[in-house]
Point group: C2
Chain length 436, copies 2
């Protein structure tokens, strides 16, 4: 048996405590699989006095977590503090500079600083691992970095936020509207008091930018993710989608296309989409996450599981530690950082496909003619159009339509033509329809 892998653990929230519990509960099997013991030597958190339900006395307490990086008795620093900057980032930089391996569940930090950290860890010959930063317990970073490594990835997409998926699938089951469902989700602990990051797609965008970098060999570019949340999705949209054979999911999507210069351009978007009921993502309900990678040889690969929670996240953190203990950790983004390409952000306009549009309109004559004329003028061909029979309490009527296959820029043009129209009570909700 080799020497233990000595761990400093920063952050003792639910995930940090989950890691401690896991290493206690599964000690023997983790040691056998890792080939050496995984031993926590030091811990740190804001409040030492808090009762966290586990005995922390075996571990040296560090008041200043960034000091953990300086400890001679530590091989790897695990950061479970959160926040894209601040103490987490300082700790990361210090740890790498002190030749420690670094493991984190911090998606915001990796989305913003992952490239710089990877570059630093490369220079120091240390491992940087962040399986837990994407889709909780699902080994999808590994699945892409290694499992699908032989493939050119054509698209990577999936359900990357459990809160948004919980809300959408609950609306689907109950018929309730967004506001009520969000409130219930908050009461049940499925949504935070400030749910913005989850429901507006920011959290999913963090994860997507990491997955896109690994999949396409691109430099992480979180700022280029086009992001739209689910707060505008109505019960009526879900009902309409159902009739048409779809469910609505918040989908993070990335692919690469060549632009005119021949250079690759990276499309990254997080948006509510219509998913055909025959597609595996249509059956993903509740707080579950699921990622689809379409490889040019593997075909469609699906990775599904719990996207959050102390147990699943701890499982991913310790999997990273086992990789490090085994000496099986390589380039965090699959290739050396020098090989990562700074890709132009792609416009989605040239993409073709079917689109769902939902208009809220005033209940008066000529509105349908105005909308359909805009579609015609923008060369959008309509496959089906459904107008709700009666105006709702606000005097609004909902008009939903599905286009034939066509370029997204035509749909954008049609929407632009209708912009400012007195007939529309709000901008239309436009959702891409995934292919089965």
């Amino acid at each position: 048996m080799s020497a233990p892998l000595r761990i400093a653990l920063a952050g003792l929230g639910t995930v940090g405590i989950g890691v401690i519990r896991l290493l206690q509960a599964n000690r023997d099997l983790v040691t056998t699989r890792a080939g050496r013991p995984l031993e926590i030597v030091s811990v740190s958190a804001r409040d030492r006095t808090l009762d966290r339900g586990v005995d922390l006395s075996p571990y040296a307490w560090e008041e200043d977590m960034t000091a953990m990086a300086a400890r001679d008795d530590v091989d790897v620093v695990v950061e479970l503090v959160g926040g894209s900057d601040g103490p987490a980032l300082t700790l990361a930089r210090n740890a790498i500079a002190a030749n420690k391996h670094f493991v984190t569940a911090n998606k915001a930090m990796i989305a913003h600083h992952g490239l710089a950290l990877a570059h630093a860890s490369e220079a120091h010959g240390t491992a940087l691992k962040f399986e837990a930063a994407v889709a909780g317990g699902i080994p999808v970073v590994k699945g892409l970095r290694e499992g699908a490594a032989a493939n050119a990835i054509e698209q990577i997409y999936g359900i990357l936020n459990g809160t948004a998926n919980y809300i959408l699938s609950t609306m689907e089951a109950s018929g309730a509207d967004f506001a009520t469902t969000l409130k219930d989700a908050q009461a049940l602990g499925y949504a935070e008091a400030d749910p913005t990051f989850d429901i507006e797609g920011v959290d999913a965008a963090h994860k997507l930018s990491i997955l896109a970098a690994i999949s396409f060999g691109a430099k992480v570019d979180f700022d280029a993710v086009a992001c739209e949340g689910i707060s505008r999705v109505r019960a009526a949209d879900i009902a309409q989608a159902d009739v048409l054979g779809y469910v609505i999911r918040l989908i993070g999507w990335a692919d690469v296309a060549e632009i005119e210069s021949g250079a690759p351009a990276l499309l990254q978007q997080v948006k509510p989409c219509l998913v055909p009921k025959g597609h595996p993502l249509a059956h993903v309900t509740g707080a579950t996450n699921a990622v689809v990678a379409e490889g040019n040889f593997s075909g469609r690969l699906l990775f599904q599981g719990a996207g959050a929670g102390d147990g699943p996240t701890a499982s991913a953190v310790v999997a990273d530690l086992i990789d490090i203990a085994r000496g099986e950790a390589g380039n965090p983004f699959s290739v050396p950082t020098s090989e990562l390409i700074a890709m132009e952000p792609a416009e989605s306009g040239e993409r073709t496909g079917q689109t769902y549009l939902r208009f809220t309109v005033t209940d008066r004559p000529g509105v349908l003619a105005e909308i359909t004329a805009a579609m015609r003028d923008a060369n959008v061909s309509i496959e089906s159009l459904i107008q709700q029979g009666r105006a709702n309490d606000g005097g609004e009527v909902l008009v939903a339509m599905v286009t034939h296959d066509g370029p997204e820029r035509c749909v954008d043009a049609a929407v632009a033509l209708l912009s400012g129209s007195a007939s529309l009570t709000a901008p239309p909700l436009v959702m891409k329809i995934l292919e089965e």
Copy 2:
């Protein structure tokens, strides 16, 4: 850039040619990800004259494939010949003895000889990899060996044979019977001329025994897999299951329970099962494979994708080669072979759950009374019982029932009580019902 990883490729069927095509099509990205070129230096197959649609002239041809192991210019031997013994096994032994890494897609060989080969490769300090042997392009060996490595696996189960799943899901969609569907599947190339290995569960059992070894740290024990195929499943069973809220899938299942001595006992079975429509495996149709691992911290992880085919299988083979090129290949069964435990085969009798039983009976008075009396005498509690209205052409009536939760041994006892009864025209079909 480091020196190339030099490959000898034995077997030039669809998968072997798939590997060549992949390494041509994705050459640059594979080189970048692997950190070095993956270079085929030598190939071998039975017939040199066959036109395989790819140019083999760059590669040295070996008439005797087992001689590949002796080549000084080879680092890794890839075996895509098949067969649990014979030339494939000789090649494996020779390659490992000659200090070559060894990669194979041969599930039968790994199920029968994987332990001995792992032991040999350990002694020689070489890698033994077989991702492609289980579930084609799905990186599930890696998912268990590494992704879920922090977990005690509670159960591992899934759809491990594409042909059987194609037949069952086609029967489900069409309402056709087994024989017709099999014939169509053969005509379409989804089933082989001799489909025995696929439809009787042997192929799935090979894969299950490999997954079980990795999941539970057990010595591979293919002979202990209880195996039952799908040929007795009727259209009426599928229709009945549908009414009750289930689909029928051929499920490979493994878990570990303690026996009286306190030692772990390994349950391995491949059997048609009822899967609740809300379970992710219920939506797996066609030739797709899907594996569920339930970890004590990760919760339920699902890996899904193409279980066969030249592209997906080549994807898995080359992923193994990339691992080797990166120096990230470890113990093939996750732990050193000396740590693998020879587990007793477990009886399923003590497992509790719901069971579906379908009887074919003669159409005469008293039959239901006989069946229900046997259930009562064996302490099987019936949740629902459905008797088909009319006898079919053969004068048979179908009686289907679902039990309440209870030990499987009680169901076995009830079936034993009815054994030899003149009322039954055939032994009942007994299927476990998976929990949602």
